[in-house]
Amino acid sequence: MLRVENLKKYFPVQKSFIETLFARKLEFIRAVDGVSFEVGRGEVLCLVGESGCGKTTTGRMIVKLEEPSDGRIIFKGRDITHLEGDELREIRKHIQMVFQDPYASLNPRMTIGEHLIDPLLIHELATREEAEEIAKDMLNKVGLPAEQFFNRFPHQLSGGQRQRVAIARAMILKPEFVVADEPVSQIDVSLRAAILELLLRFKKELNQSMIFITHDLSITRVIGDRIAVMYLGKIVEMGEVDSIVKRPMHPYTAALLSAVPSFVKKKIRIDVIGEIANPREIPKGCRYSPRCPFAKDVCRREEPELEKVEDRLVACHYPLEVEF
């Protein structure tokens, strides 16, 4: 369905005037540094990692909000990396996004109804009258009765209701591929399950593929088929959700799992040392080595490749053998 090959995004570092005078060359933040994966039809791939690991940038490149510095994005066998104009618009119909912050993703000066009508009109899928009907059906479907919500403005809605509108807006085009960027992280905990359920319902109904971006590993078991764990712009471990959550091989995955609060007492606890590294200064060798409690000399010298180990891909010189 969607294949990403060696995708990279480097942002030039903003410097002060004085710094520019003395700097020898341009510095870059390597936000995404060579990421490859594939998402099959009807499959959900969870991109997991701390903030700043490049998971959101990866998602933004796929929906073409960010131009990749290198690499390719292939959607249904077609290279869409550098599409523009009408071709890009045509592709956008099939690849939609649900954003993290429902307070910022709706236009404060536009009614809820208009938010849903607009995509239909842009892609000339309906006349205005038809679009209104489709929009009203859609509102009812996401649990916001149209007669109540159609003419309201975003500020009259709660965060959960707004996220339902955002989901409705993305789904009204019946996309085959959805990038969901932490869609529940800013929603009240009590409403999260309902929002996730809504996403899954659409996914099933439209047989969608999805990239679900999250920092919360506990959600991946509910929604995901596979997980890709990212650290400093690279995938460090990728495989089936169940096997990774049960038997993480990369120390970073294990640390993330250890950090998930749980009512069940954990047998093992694996820590991370220190804060996430600055992507301006990516460590030599394994990127995770400065924070890894198991790091040895070779880790600080050589960067491990993402290689097949048993049922998954892992980028570690000494994959763990633990079970949660």
Binding site: F99, S105, L106, N107, P108, R109, I122
Partner: protein, 268 residues
């Protein structure tokens, strides 16, 4: 507080507009004809006195509201129609176009408004229309800068990106997603720039760039009254001068009140 400012400003503006529209019914005398003795101080017959040609100053003040309102309103409308689209385009597209436009606008902005208006009016020649153009040019950068700045910040907001993902064209994003979010600013800048333009208009008129005798206009009457002030005939310039101040104050109050009410709140 901002509500009281708003209502006070609106009251002043509507009073002056009312006065301008119904001038023939309000003014007791013909403003262009001598209707009494010259240089009479305010009295029951001539409540603001008479000028050096024996014309009733109150009538001239009432009729004088017409020129200033027409010039200032049409000038501000014109600068809005030019400044707002340019600001939107410049802020949204950025790049070279933005640099060039910003540079032009900054150089216009660098001149004191009255001096620039005089220069333009002097080139174009004295007439109501030319004065309108001169004042319009002066206030284009005000709209441009405000709208460009707002556009710069709004275009990075998530809902604009969401519109992009929906496939919206740039023109559609500007029209449906960005412009409605800067509309309040446009109204605020309009009233503040009108307040300023009133003073500029009076200045141009004072220098004889807008009307010729015997047309009544506040700024123009100020200049005809000026030579008589040292001799103690204070009423010739006091009343037109007060009206300039009052009308400008009215628009400034409305502008400040609106900006306090709407702009500050949106910044949260």
């Amino acid at each position: 507080m901002s509500n009281r400012m708003l209502y006070a400003g609106l009251a002043i503006i509507s009073a002056v507009v009312f006065m301008a529209i119904f001038a023939p019914f309000i003014a007791p005398y013909d403003p262009t004809k001598s209707t009494g003795d010259v240089l009479q101080p305010p009295s029951a017959e001539h409540i603001m006195g008479t000028d050096n040609l024996g014309r009733d100053i109150f009538s001239r003040v009432v009729y004088g509201a017409r020129v200033v309102l027409i010039v200032v309103f049409s000038a501000s409308l014109l600068s809005m129609l030019v400044g707002v689209p340019l600001g939107l385009i410049s802020g949204y597209y950025g790049g070279k176009l933005d640099r060039v436009l910003s540079m032009i606008m900054d150089s216009l902005y660098a001149f004191p408004s009255l001096i620039l208006a005089i220069a333009i009016a002097a080139v174009l020649g004295p007439s109501v229309f030319n004065a309108m153009v001169a004042i319009a040019v002066v206030y284009i950068p005000t709209y441009f800068r405000m709208i460009r700045g707002q556009t710069l910040s709004i275009k990075t907001r998530l809902f604009v990106e969401a519109a992009k993902v929906s496939g919206a064209s740039n023109a559609r994003i500007l029209r449906k997603y960005i412009f409605p979010n800067v509309a309040t600013t446009v109204i605020v800048v309009f009233s503040l720039s009108v307040a300023d333009a009133i003073i500029t208009e009076a200045g141009l008129s004072f220098l004889g760039f807008i009307v010729t005798a015997p047309t009544p206009d506040w700024g123009f009457d100020l200049s005809s009254g000026k030579p008589y002030l040292p001799a103690g005939y204070w009423w010739m310039i006091t009343f037109p001068g007060l009206m300039v101040m009052l009308l400008s104050l009215g628009f400034a109050l409305v502008g400040e009140a609106l900006s306090e009410k709407y702009l500050a709140r949106e910044e949260r």
